[in-house]
C-alpha cells in the first residue's frame, strides 16, 4: 500500500493542487469585429457622341443610368454597417463643367443623394469623397438601386460630336463594419 499512497499523493498534486490563473471569458462580450471592406462600384467613360440623340444633331445636356444594387440588402450589413465611404475619381477632358449626381433609390424613390459633384472643364485628376455615417443616414440602408446622372454645363455652344475627348468616371465603396457577438 505504500506505493498506492505515493501514487495518491502524486495524483493529488496534479489533480487537486494544480493552479489556474483567474480568467474572465465574459470579456468576449466587449469584442467588436471591425473589418473595413472596399470594392469597386460603377465606372463609365463617355464621349461627346453620348450626349447626342440618335440623329446625332441634338445635344442632350443630361444623361443618366440606373441599376439594381442589393449590397445593402443583406441583414448582416443592415445590422452592422456603421459608415460608408464613396470614393470618386474623375477625368474631364470636356471644355465645360460637368455635374455628377449620385442618387441611392428604393423602388425609384430617392433615399440618399450625394452633394452634386461639379468638375470644371479640362480637369484631369479630380477626386471626391462622400462619407456617410449610417447612424444619421439610416435610410440609405433601404437602397435597392443606384442612379448616376451626368449633366453638361449649358454654355450655349454644342460639343463637337466627333471630338475624341472623354469624360471618365470611376468609383468605389468602402464599408465600415462593426459587429459583436
Amino acid at each position: 500500500m505504500k506505493y498506492s499512497s505515493k501514487f495518491s499523493v502524486i495524483a493529488s498534486i496534479f489533480l487537486f493542487f494544480s493552479c489556474a490563473e483567474s480568467l474572465d471569458f465574459n470579456q468576449i462580450d466587449d469584442y467588436v469585429n471591425k473589418p473595413i471592406f472596399t470594392a469597386s462600384l460603377t465606372y463609365f467613360t463617355v464621349v461627346p457622341a453620348d450626349f447626342f440623340d440618335s440623329t446625332g444633331t441634338i445635344q442632350q445636356n443630361s444623361i443618366s443610368e440606373t441599376t439594381n444594387f442589393d449590397a445593402l440588402q443583406s441583414q448582416f450589413v443592415k445590422d452592422n454597417l456603421v459608415k460608408l465611404d464613396l470614393d470618386v475619381a474623375i477625368k474631364n477632358e470636356f471644355d465645360r463643367e460637368v455635374t455628377i449626381r449620385v442618387e441611392f433609390l428604393n423602388n425609384n424613390v430617392t433615399v440618399y443623394t450625394f452633394t452634386p459633384i461639379i468638375i470644371k472643364g479640362n480637369t484631369l485628376n479630380y477626386k471626391y469623397l462622400e462619407e456617410i455615417e449610417i447612424a444619421s443616414n439610416s435610410a440609405i440602408l433601404n437602397t435597392t438601386q443606384v442612379k448616376i446622372t451626368a449633366e453638361l454645363e449649358n454654355t450655349g455652344i454644342q460639343l463637337n460630336l466627333n471630338d475624341p475627348i472623354e469624360f471618365e468616371f470611376k468609383s468605389s465603396v468602402t464599408m465600415y463594419i462593426e459587429s459583436s457577438f
Partner: protein, 457 residues
C-alpha cells in the same frame, strides 16, 4: 453565439499536440501500450479493462497562444488582445483534439509465444489549421491590404467521431524478435474534412475602375458525412452520433503493425505503424465544391436609353457561372492519420525476476533509459516529437517513468507516469507537461492518460 466563440477561441488557443503518448509507450507492460505497438511484450496471462475506466486519454496544448493571452483579467482591451493573437499565429499553427475512451479491452495468452488482445474504443479526433489569411480578411477586411493575396490554401480541417473495434496478436518469433499486428474496423459517426484547397483573393489598383478584384484559381472542397440526415436536416442529437460509433456508421478498415527486437539482453528496439487505414463514407454524405476564377471591377454604365440592363444581376449570374458552388452526395474515402513510433531502450540496474503467466520466472532490469520518436501524418503537415525517457521499476508491480519531449511546439515538456498493481487490479496515470500544472490557464500543453485494468500474470 458567444458560447460558440468561446469554444472556438478555446480550441484555437489550446492547440492540441499530436496523439503522442510518449509516457504510455512501452511502459510497465500496460495493456493499453499494445494499442501503440502490438508487438510490445508482456507476461500477462489475461487482462480485462474495466469498461469505460480502463483507458481515458486526452491531450491539450498550445503552440503560441495561451488562454491567459486572451482572457486574463488584465484591463487590456479584448480587441487589442485578439488582434495581437491573430498576428502572433502563423498559418503553420494548428489546433487539434484527440480523446479516446475505451469501452472494452481484453487480452488472453493463447500460448507461450502468442498473446491475443481485442477491444473497442471511441475516439474524437480533430485537426484544424489556422487559416490566417481568411481570419485577417474577416477581422480586418481588404481595405488596408491592396495587392495582398489572401490564400484559401491555408484552409484545412478534419474532424472525426468514430468507434474502433479491434483485434490484435502479439507473436514472439524467437528470443530476440516479437512481431505484432492489429486489425481494426472503424465506424465513423461524423466526418468533416476539407484539404488540398487553393485559390486567392486579391484587390489591386484597377485600370477601368479604381480597383480590380481577382478571385483566382479557386479549387475548394468541403466533404461531410453523418452531419445531415436523409431529410437534409442537421443531426443535433448526440445519442445518434454515439449509436453510430457501434458499427452502424460509415465503415472502414485499418491495421497496426509492430516489431520488437532485442539487439542484446539490455538493448531493445521497437517500432510501430498505427492506423494504416481508411473509412469509406457513403451514408449521409453532403459535399460542396467550388472551382473557377472571377474578376470584378464594378458595373460599367452605358447610358443607353434603349437598354434595361440589370448590372447587379449580371454580376451575380457571372459569379455563379464562373465560380460555381456544386453540391453532391458522392461517396468518398478519408484516410486515418497514420502514426509512427520508434524507440530504443537500454535496460540496466538491478536484475530481478518476475513471475510469468506459466509460473516461470523472467529476469528484468529495474531501470531503463531510451529515446522515442513519434510522427503522425496530417492533412497539411507531418508532426514529429522526440522523447528521452527514464523508467524505474520499484518492484514487479510498481513502475514509474519520466519523459522529456521536444516537438514542434515545446522544448520543455516533462512528463511523468506511474503504474501499480494491487492484487489483480492495475492502476495507471500519466501526465504530460507537468510543469504547466503550476498554472493551467497559461499552459502550453496538458495531456493525461488514466485507467484501471484487471490483470492476471
Amino acid at each position: 453565439m458567444k458560447n460558440i466563440l468561446v469554444v472556438i477561441v478555446f480550441v484555437i488557443t489550446t492547440t492540441i499536440f499530436s496523439q503522442n503518448k510518449q509516457v504510455l509507450y512501452d511502459f510497465g507492460e500496460l495493456p493499453q501500450s499494445l494499442l501503440l505497438n502490438p508487438a510490445l511484450e508482456n507476461t500477462h496471462k489475461l487482462h480485462v479493462g474495466i469498461p469505460i475506466l480502463s483507458g481515458f486519454s486526452t491531450q491539450i496544448g498550445s503552440s503560441e497562444v495561451l488562454l491567459t493571452d486572451l482572457f486574463a483579467v488584465d484591463n487590456q482591451n479584448i480587441n487589442d488582445k485578439i488582434s495581437q493573437v491573430l498576428h502572433t499565429l502563423t498559418s503553420d499553427d494548428f489546433m487539434m483534439i484527440n480523446t479516446q475512451v475505451e469501452l472494452l479491452n481484453i487480452g488472453y495468452r493463447l500460448n507461450e509465444k502468442t498473446y491475443l488482445s481485442a477491444g473497442f474504443y471511441q475516439e474524437i479526433d480533430a485537426i484544424g489549421y489556422f487559416p490566417k489569411d481568411v481570419l485577417v480578411l474577416f477581422t480586418e477586411g481588404n481595405d488596408a491590404f491592396l495587392n495582398r493575396s489572401f490564400s484559401a490554401s491555408q484552409i484545412g480541417y478534419k474532424f472525426d467521431v468514430l468507434g474502433v473495434l479491434h483485434a490484435g496478436i502479439t507473436k514472439k518469433i524467437d528470443e530476440k524478435l516479437t512481431l505484432g499486428g492489429r486489425f481494426k474496423i472503424y465506424s465513423a459517426a461524423l466526418n468533416l474534412e476539407s484539404t488540398n484547397n487553393r485559390g486567392t483573393f486579391t484587390t489591386v489598383q484597377g485600370t477601368n475602375n479604381i480597383y480590380t478584384h481577382y478571385i483566382s484559381n479557386v479549387k475548394m472542397e468541403q466533404r461531410s458525412s453523418g452531419l445531415f440526415d436523409t431529410n437534409d436536416e442537421m443531426i443535433e442529437d448526440p445519442n445518434e452520433y454515439i449509436q453510430r460509433t457501434f458499427l452502424s456508421g460509415n465503415l472502414g478498415i485499418g491495421f497496426d503493425l509492430g516489431i520488437t527486437y532485442h539487439i542484446n539482453k539490455q538493448l531493445q528496439f521497437s517500432a510501430s505503424l498505427i492506423d494504416i487505414g481508411f473509412i469509406n463514407h457513403k451514408k449521409n454524405v453532403k459535399n460542396y465544391k467550388e472551382e473557377g476564377s472571377f474578376v470584378y471591377e464594378g458595373f460599367e454604365y452605358e447610358f443607353d436609353p434603349n437598354s434595361n440592363r440589370d448590372f447587379w444581376r449580371e454580376i451575380n449570374d457571372r459569379l455563379n457561372e464562373e465560380l460555381p458552388t456544386v453540391e453532391n452526395e458522392n461517396s468518398y474515402i478519408s484516410w486515418r492519420p497514420t502514426k509512427i513510433n520508434m524507440a530504443l531502450r537500454y535496460s540496466f540496474g538491478e536484475k530481478r525476476s518476475e513471475i510469468c503467466y506459466d509460473n516461470s520466472y523472467q529476469d528484468f532490469y529495474t531501470d531503463a533509459v531510451g529515446a522515442h520518436f513519434f510522427s503522425v501524418f496530417r492533412p497539411l503537415s507531418t508532426n514529429v516529437a522526440l522523447t528521452a525517457f527514464y523508467q524505474k521499476s520499484f518492484s514487479k508491480k510498481v513502475h514509474a517513468k519520466v519523459t522529456y519531449t521536444m516537438d514542434d511546439f515545446s522544448y520543455s515538456n516533462i512528463g511523468a507516469g506511474m503504474s501499480f498493481q494491487i492484487g489483480k487490479v492495475n492502476f495507471y496515470g500519466m501526465f504530460d507537461n507537468i510543469l504547466s500544472y503550476r498554472n493551467l490557464s497559461s499552459a502550453n500543453s496538458v495531456s493525461l492518460q488514466l485507467g484501471i485494468n484487471f490483470i492476471m500474470n
